[in-house]
């Protein structure tokens, strides 16, 4: 290999340079007038205006709840097992039968359900693995936090009633 020199003949106009300079400046002048007079812009005023992402966008997780505000999660550990980033940490517990209107349908419950959003790669495998449709990915992408500790979300933070797909 090595450098391949491709020679190209320049016309007198191209060599003179100034014609191209004027041409370029006319283009930017047009753009300037578009921006200055007609306020044409390709960017958005972010916090006020938000970009409309696809319905399939994978943002922050949430855990869906049923009509009694009980989480659908049964602590089956499928999401924790499938997670390639090891960001889900579940501690399982037995659900109190008295407080469980569904009886045997939800025997287990997560005592704690932590998601480390800093480790998460938003692949969506947990959502695919979940047999109860408990863990889901919302379209929320505004995940900035002040400390690393704030990025570890617990069950209370994640629990949410399902409205559509979140």
């Amino acid at each position: 290999m090595g450098t391949i020199n491709v020679s190209r003949e320049y016309s007198a106009k191209e060599k003179f340079f100034l014609a191209a300079v004027v041409q370029g400046m006319i283009i930017t002048l047009k753009r300037f007038i578009q921006g200055f007079v007609f306020h044409k812009k390709y960017t958005i005023m972010y916090p006020e205006e938000k970009r409309n992402y696809s319905q399939r966008f994978r943002g922050m997780h949430f855990i869906s709840v049923d009509e009694n505000k009980t989480e659908n999660c049964t602590a089956c550990f499928l999401c924790e097992t499938v997670c390639p980033a090891d960001c889900i940490h579940i501690v399982a517990d037995e659900r109190d039968a008295g407080a469980n209107p569904y009886g045997v349908r939800k025997e287990k419950r997560p005592l704690s359900f932590d998601i480390d959003a800093l480790r998460c790669c938003f692949c969506g495998f947990c959502e695919e693995a979940c047999p109860k449709d408990a863990i889901k990915l919302s379209r929320n992408y505004e995940l900035s936090v002040l400390t690393r500790q704030d990025a570890i979300y617990d069950l209370n933070h994640l629990k949410r009633e399902v409205k559509g797909r979140g």
Binding site: L18, K40, T43, M45
Partner: protein, 360 residues
């Protein structure tokens, strides 16, 4: 020196420096907003109406940042760099005539801070000084990127100074004087009764060479190799923070103002009224029946505004060019400077001497 001379001199100094430093925030604002408009963005629009207060917010930030000096820098030269950078173009501004004269009482006030007979040489001397802050800052920072930027900057400025000087020389042949005030006075006449006798109509090639050279002299794109953000971070002012960086930043704009004012003075009629404004002035004078003194003072004001508008035009073009063209490669800069502009400027000097000989 009596008290009147002293006061008018001080007033002129304060006026020129206040105007040239006072427009910098608006230039910075225009640079940012204008670039946004050209690129289809919005630009800073949060602070104040249309984001006009943004430069002041920037300055406040610069003031409150830590005044930090790198360990490995040469302290004395490190601090000298930004001071030099701002002082040199500001000093050169003092000989730009910004109006004919004012009449106060029975005294005549020439609207030029320093009336120097060899004004052009003074300008060249201070334009030559502009290379020193770059070398000083780049060397004293003790940083490889800074020294690279300084080397590039110094070679570029010195190369383009030659073609700039030759373009100036061709105008010296036409005007037959070193005095900027007399040069502007010369451009008072008219060709064929309508065309103002601006230098650009006599010597268009010289004007073009001078214009291109000012871009290289002030380190503006497409000649911003000393800064070259993409390859050498920020070049010679890489190690500077807070107000020291702000001084470099201001110096760039003052140098731009100086170069534009010089271009307007030499080639675009200096403070002479823009075509058409003379009629407005005459109408105002005859309608209000102003005395001769008042008419002259009003004329001086019009002349200042004319120069201000001309300089603003060149500043806008500089900003416009910056957001149009990419940076030259270093060998292209040298090629343009030494193989195109230098012979062209030399030939132009010969050609202008023929023209001047024929005209007389």
């Amino acid at each position: 020196m009596d008290i009147f001379t002293l006061v008018q001199l001080l007033a002129k100094i304060v006026f020129v420096f206040a105007v040239s430093l006072g427009v910098i925030p608006f230039l910075v604002w225009f640079e940012r907003r204008g670039s946004a408009w050209i690129q289809g963005r919005v630009g800073p629009n949060r602070v104040g109406p249309f984001g006009l207060i943004q430069p002041f917010a920037d300055v406040a930030k610069f003031f409150f940042k830590e005044f930090w000096t790198p360990e490995h820098a040469n302290k004395w030269y490190y601090h000298l760099g930004p001071i030099f950078a701002l002082a040199a173009p500001l000093a050169a501004l003092t000989i730009i005539p910004f109006g004919s004269f004012l009449v106060i009482g029975d005294q005549i006030v020439n609207l030029q801070i320093a009336h120097i007979d060899s004004g052009v040489l003074f300008i060249l001397a201070f334009a030559g000084l502009e290379v020193y802050p770059i070398i000083i800052a780049g060397w004293a920072s003790n940083n490889k990127y800074s020294i690279l930027g300084a080397l590039r900057g110094s070679s570029q400025i010195i190369s383009y100074e030659i073609s700039m000087g030759l373009a100036l020389l061709s105008m010296l042949l036409v005007y037959g004087t070193f005095d900027l005030h007399l040069m502007v006075d010369w451009q008072k006449q008219k060709f064929f009764g309508f065309l103002p006798a601006w230098g650009v109509f006599i010597n268009p090639i010289g004007a073009l060479i001078f214009w291109i050279s000012t871009f290289a002299e002030t380190n503006r794109l497409p000649f911003d190799l000393p800064e070259g953000d993409a390859e050498i971070v920020a070049g010679y002012h890489l190690e500077y923070g807070a107000m020291k960086f702000a001084l470099f930043f201001m110096a760039e704009y003052v140098a731009m103002i100086m170069a534009s004012a010089l271009l307007a003075t030499l080639f675009f009629g200096g403070y002479h009224l823009l075509p058409g404004t003379g009629r407005i002035l005459n109408t105002i004078v005859s309608m209000n029946g102003l005395s001769e003194v008042a008419a002259q003072n009003l004329k001086a004001l019009f002349q200042f505004v004319s120069l201000f508008l001309k300089v603003s035009f060149f500043m806008v073009v500089m900003i416009w060019v910056r957001w149009t063209f990419p940076r030259f490669r270093f060998d292209q800069v040298m090629h343009l400077g030494w193989k195109i502009l230098f012979p062209l400027a030399l030939a132009n000097v010969v050609w202008m001497s023929v023209v001047v000989y024929l005209m007389n």
